[in-house]
Symmetry: C2
Subunit: 222 residues, 2 copies
């Protein structure tokens, strides 16, 4: 397979950046990456160019590539858009899902009940992703689905810690119940409204949300 080394490299780095394994602000040294991946600088540079277009790294001319640090303002803006996109997915899903998809959504919700009971955070995290992606798909709008998924992905490092907090797990489950009911019953306004607030606030105040953000990952200078 060809042109895979630069694409593979990009995917790998993307993964590590999104998961926060590479801390925002760190410089991505080209030769270090060549040694790590056993390739020349050419595919490394092509991968970095790709990541810069994805807004995951910032290429400063003649200075190198840096994992992008987002300011609090940028982050809040992105979460606001995320909320809108999730809401739109919900609205369209309530309208367009076929019976099979509605059944599947119910199922994806119900299987999380034991996970909540057992406080299985990792398990719930994965099931939560599946639940939301089912809604994206249910919009029957591939572009919207991809955009939403991609933005969710980019916000991952700033969301990972949230579920661990106090009774977020219970809150999330409760909200999922309402969302599932709204979508499967075709109540699009309700689905949109519920999903629009679900992402960020989760029945808490916005201040709590802000406080939950890992501030060390945030660019204080901007």
């Amino acid at each position: 397979m060809a042109n895979m080394s630069s694409n593979d490299l990009r995917r790998q780095l993307e993964h590590e950046i999104v998961l926060g394994e590479i801390v925002p602000g760190t410089r991505l040294d080209e030769v270090a990456l060549t040694e790590r991946f056993g390739v020349s600088r050419t595919p490394v540079r092509e991968a970095l160019q790709q990541l810069s277009m994805m807004q995951l790294v910032e290429i400063r001319p003649r200075r190198g590539a840096f994992v992008k640090k987002m300011s609090l303002k940028e982050l809040v803006d992105m979460f606001e858009v995320m909320a809108e996109l999730e809401g739109t997915c919900g609205k369209l899903a309530a309208d367009r899902m076929i019976d099979e998809e509605r059944d599947k959504l119910k199922e994806l919700h119900l299987i999380t009940e034991p996970l909540v009971k057992n406080k299985d955070y990792d398990g719930y995290y994965r099931a939560n992703v599946a639940f939301h992606e089912a809604i994206y798909k249910g919009s029957h709008n591939d572009f919207l689905s991809d955009q939403t998924k991609s933005l969710r992905n980019r916000l991952t490092p700033y969301r990972r810690l949230q579920l661990r907090q106090s009774n977020r797990l219970n809150n999330s489950f409760q909200e999922h119940a309402e969302i599932t009911e709204a979508i499967t019953s075709g109540n699009k306004e309700m689905a949109e409204q519920l999903l629009g607030t679900h992402v960020t606030v989760q029945r808490g105040s916005f201040n709590d949300f802000l406080a939950s953000l890992p501030m060390d990952l945030i660019d204080q200078s901007a």
Copy 2:
């Protein structure tokens, strides 16, 4: 200035693709581009990698880079998202614009009146862009603003011909009047609703919109 050749190249090609000067489906030959821009293959390839991440070109392994052809489904999906984003911008702008911005919006609308009277399509096209971008900025959400602008940009080749049609100019002006009124008076629901339909339908049927699409630019195979 450094790393500018690959970025400049990307910008130039992006411009030409978005304006439809390079027809979707055409292959972008690397050596041809090196000759045209007087650079080596390295920056050419980096530019193509960037464009592939922007979904403007498709890189088929060992086959080359092709200007992306969008299927009708993809296009409809993108316009649907565009409508949502425009609506969101309007909603937030109605809420957040400061007095100065509201005045500016009124002005940007009013200066288009003579352009409509004189059927100055190019002039109106430019003024229209300025009007809408003022709304994006008025959302006070830079991420949303950038995303909306970028998507509008990508849809340009499929929108250029629309304004020329029958009395689209008058319709557009009339709708802008209502939008301006809604935003400046802070009626966010109205602003969202008006902008959500303005992009695509412009007081016509959706079928008319579909019929207005330049079908030769659309991938029939997909």
